[in-house]
């Protein structure tokens, strides 16, 4: 069985070194992703410190139930992709394919729910610059909340979309038996990417949906 040697690039001594290098590269990439979205979170923090009431009012316009369900969906999908990787590493294949498809389906479900959210926000006149009909003293600063909301969730949804495509490719490759217990680095790295998407949402959830809900 020469899977290891055929998959081994010239610059590496052995498969383990190659795998570690790939994982390190992925983690560095994930750090840049965290910083990329971190800029938006920093902007959010600054604006929220400056306009706390407007952010609370803006948050109350979002759909908390749907947001909670979306969070649960992403957390579950993270578990599913982790289990898919586990199955492949234990020598399985069939269950892993189904788990990857389940993960992609949950990701798609997330996108659909978020699409419905955007649509209802459009109808309520909560899209600054496109259709914004809010009145009152908080209407102007609330636009900041919604701009950040669309940028953060928009970029996150873009990542979810990329992740879904990646997961479908991985499901196909797993189905074609291109991964086994010795070699499954692409699957491993895709799973890491999906977990990052999940982690970003873990922070989006309280900052977008849970502000000013009490009382």
């Amino acid at each position: 069985m020469s899977t290891d040697t055929t998959m081994l690039a010239q610059q590496f001594d052995d498969a383990a070194q190659q795998r570690d290098a790939s994982a390190l590269g992925m983690w560095v990439f994930l750090a840049t992703e965290a910083l990329f979205l971190g800029v938006l979170f920093a902007g959010y923090t600054v604006c929220r410190v400056r306009f706390p009431e407007a952010f609370a009012a803006g948050s109350r316009h979002t759909d908390m139930l749907l947001g909670t369900i979306e969070t649960a969906v992403l957390l579950t999908s993270s578990c599913a992709v982790a289990l898919a990787l586990r199955d492949v590493q234990l020598g399985g294949r069939r269950i892993a394919v189904w788990l990857l498809l389940l993960t992609a389906a949950l990701g798609l479900g997330f996108l659909v729910m978020h699409g419905f959210e955007y649509y209802s926000e459009y109808r309520e006149g909560l899209m600054p610059g496109i259709h914004y009909t809010q009145q009152g003293p908080l209407a102007a600063p609330m636009q900041l909340f919604f701009c950040l909301y669309y940028f953060i969730t928009g970029f996150h949804s873009l990542h979810v979309g990329i992740g879904v495509i990646l997961l479908l490719v991985m499901a196909r490759r797993t189905h074609r038996a291109q991964f086994n217990a010795q070699y499954c680095t692409p699957l491993e790295l895709s799973a890491l990417y999906w977990h990052l998407v999940d982690i970003v949402w873990i922070f989006v959830y309280p900052l977008v949906y849970l502000v000013g809900r009490a009382g």
Binding site: V28, G38, A82, L85, A191
Partner: protein, 103 residues
Amino acid sequence: MNPSPQPATPPSLRLHLIVLAALLALLLTSAGLALLPLGVFNTLSALGISVAKTLLVMAFFMRLRRGPPLLRIAAAVGFAWLAVLIGMTVADVLTRVVLPSPW
């Protein structure tokens, strides 16, 4: 040929499900706490729970708990830069006098 050194045996199915249950429980806790009037603790508890959820995902789903130290450092450095980014931005904003806009 030597068999390639395996990454440590993957965590058990049971552990995965326990972590998922913990994550969902934390999610419901944070939703519930958001509805109680706790003042500044609403924000603090929500962010604290998010950090806890992130640590669970990173430690178990991303397998950093038993991961190579180099990966743990890379992951920690990402968050350290993020803390610098947000910390210094906020430090600047909080220590300035807000000037009213001229228009």
